[in-house]
Subunit: 275 residues, 2 copies
């Protein structure tokens, strides 16, 4: 039974758990293993740590495989308690902080929870402004503030423009608008007038036609909009337009929101307002 | 000059750079150091790696302090080239992969770029559905699908409800609506009717009155809406309501979007659809 059972992987943090998860996920994807994930945020005192130890050791006593822990806990007393876990313990701060102190020639603060703290107010305001810009300029809603945009995503309906814009805003403070290519735009096979003055800010999104069909089918079942023929035509014409106008574009079918966003920043050399 | 100059910290990745940045930021926040940040994503072949080495060694030759590198590069040949940098090199994969291989009893794939890849299609679809839900239920726009919501954020205008909802959707696939408390709601000091059936899904956002004033002032300068008296009254009444109705709430003034989102998930024991 023990061999068949899945590993439980714990992500433990004294704050949000975001760093612990990012770290652990990245490493676990290198192994072809199916595992159970448990995130334990806000483990910021020894009492809560003791409960966590109990929870984890309980799994172990039941004969399952040894749990794995990725920890970003900073407080020394809390970390000390967690080390009583009968588990493989990958301690992020313990591993890196000492060599960093040596390199930087200064002691670390051992202070909790700065990495996803509010940071400075200016950064917060920039993110909010970028989100508002993105919401106001979603789906071609308004096009008259395009001069304020850092980037304008272009593509046919349902290629994933909105989530990429929102990710750019939230994560990087980038002002991202998006413009849906209409059937009229596609028939002309040239850039809509409203985009022509902003050629350097354009970035195309494309998608496989059959994937587009299944997305549209969910929204408007059995419509012309969702037919394979329509999707094929739109995708083909959009890509022809991108190539003719020499616009960079990516196919979003097999690429994540994160990857598209970072590709856009990289290829258009965008200045991030949030680091 | 060398002593006064700021360190340059590089985040190098063969994919998006998100993991490298998250880790590096977490560690650097432990040190009270001002530094220059350079993210170098998509370093996925030896030619590009050689250029990176040149770029980094150039900084060093100019007599500045030794650069710091946080790397999540997985490909062995690319990593090998990067090690020629004259820099403090914190190699994330090198550090953890060997002990993980020993613990898990299996070799890692050394395959690039899985951690922010598209994952499975189902995960992608959940994120998109959650974003659409959030956009459709922003700012009390519609209230009749609240039974489908995982959480409903409640607060006066401009407490940061929208970014938290979007973050919950993008990062965790959580269906998050938000409802702005109107002056009428506040005068009654009781839950609006439309929320009463969903009491277990409510989470309050509050804010310092002077911070709220400065945010509102940006949007509608010198309006009653942006006056300190109005902000104080609204915040006070909203908090009274939260307490009376025993709703959990946080003050968003000094807490980041990420922290509010993870707090909401933690306190309301929300099931994440994306891990």
């Amino acid at each position: 039974m023990a061999d068949d059972a899945r590993r439980t992987v714990f992500f433990i943090s004294d704050r949000t758990g975001i760093t612990a998860e990012t770290l652990g996920h990245s490493l676990m994807t290198q192994f072809d293993l199916d595992y159970e994930q448990v995130t334990l945020p806000f483990v910021d005192n020894v009492e809560r740590a003791a409960k966590v130890v109990e929870q984890i050791n309980h799994i172990n006593n039941n004969g399952g495989p040894r749990p794995v822990i990725f920890s970003t806990v900073i407080q020394d007393d809390v970390r000390q308690v967690l080390k009583d876990c009968n588990a493989a313990f990958f301690d992020f701060f313990d591993t890196f902080i000492s060599p960093m102190e040596a390199e930087l020639g200064t002691l670390s603060s051992h202070a909790v929870g700065r990495s996803h703290g509010v940071g400075n107010r200016q950064t917060y305001d920039v993110r909010i402004d970028a989100i508002n810009f993105s919401l106001n300029h979603d789906d071609g809603l308004t096009t008259h503030h395009y001069s304020d945009a850092d980037i304008i995503l272009v593509g046919v309906s349902r290629t994933g423009k909105t989530p990429v814009c929102l990710y750019l805003a939230l994560q990087y403070g980038v002002f991202a608008a998006n413009y849906p290519l209409t059937e009229d735009d596609l028939m002309e096979t040239r850039l809509p007038k409203v985009l022509q003055a902003h050629r350097n800010k354009l970035f195309g999104l494309s998608i496989e036609a059959d994937r587009l069909q299944s997305i549209r089918q969910e929204r408007r079942p059995n419509s012309r909009y969702a037919s394979l023929a329509q999707c094929q035509m739109e995708v083909m014409r959009a890509e022809t337009l991108f190539k003719r106008e020499k616009l960079p574009f990516v196919n979003s079918t097999t690429v994540s929101i994160e990857e598209i966003a970072t590709t856009v920043i990289h290829e258009r050399s965008l200045k991030r307002r949030v680091h």
